[in-house]
């Protein structure tokens, strides 16, 4: 989960490896605030996988890459 200057830099860094998902940093910042915003609340409670998936979906991250189906229950 890294930052890059451009698509060209991502391609060079990946080399022959499969491409993952790329999003603009503004979207990443939005995602981070939705995902981590409650992390140090004194009354924090774990989220379900469905709640986490809903956060991703609300930001338009709906393709298969962002599918949490294998058990992302808390983070």
């Amino acid at each position: 989960m890294n930052l890059f200057r451009s698509e060209e830099h991502i391609s060079r860094w990946l080399g022959p490896r499969d491409r993952g998902a790329t999003i603009p940093v503004a979207k990443l910042c939005e995602l981070a605030h939705a995902w981590w915003g409650n992390r140090i609340d004194p009354y924090w409670q774990p989220r379900t996988r469905e709640q986490n998936q809903a956060i991703l979906s609300a930001l338009g991250l709906t393709d298969a890459f962002w599918n949490l189906s294998a058990g992302e229950d808390v983070s």
Partner: protein, 147 residues
């Protein structure tokens, strides 16, 4: 995750933010009048539940996401302190979790050129940067340190 483990998790995060670093098992135990073994047992359950991440070979924290207990390539200045983040996502997550503006010091993973991003009012000041994630979401926790 039962209520006792949620309370231990919330205490652990509270101590991390209070001190600016990962609490030790002894510090955590002392705060709640428990034994280190009790805390270790709770931390292991929380690790298994993906609520925090333990070091592989010591009784120490590795991550209290988005905070990293060890130095990383993602440093964040927020709330008058420097923090380490586990990755780019977590770097923004530290500002989010603390509900403050801040700035992130990192580098392009390809060329190594330094990157500084200021976060103000939940927005970055550099909109040209890109975030790339190699591991699909369903496999993030197969090896969270690699992810």
């Amino acid at each position: 995750m039962d209520e006792a483990d949620v309370a231990l998790r919330n205490l652990t995060y509270g101590l991390f933010v209070e001190s600016g670093r990962a609490p030790t098992i002894h510090e955590t135990a002392a705060r709640i009048g428990a034994t280190p073994d009790d805390v270790w047992a709770g931390w292991k359950r929380l690790h298994d539940d993906h609520a925090l991440v333990l070091q592989a070979h010591t009784r120490e924290l590795r991550m209290a996401n988005p905070f990293s207990a060890v130095p990383t390539a993602y440093q964040v200045f927020a709330d008058d302190r420097w923090w380490y983040a586990n990755c780019a996502w977590d770097a923004f997550g530290i500002c989010a979790a603390l509900h403050v503006d801040g700035h992130i010091e990192a580098s392009c993973a390809d060329c190594g050129e330094p990157i500084t991003v200021h976060v103000q009012d939940e927005r970055p000041d550099d909109h040209g940067l890109l975030f790339h994630c190699v591991v699909p979401a369903a496999r993030w926790w197969d090896d969270i340190v690699f992810t």
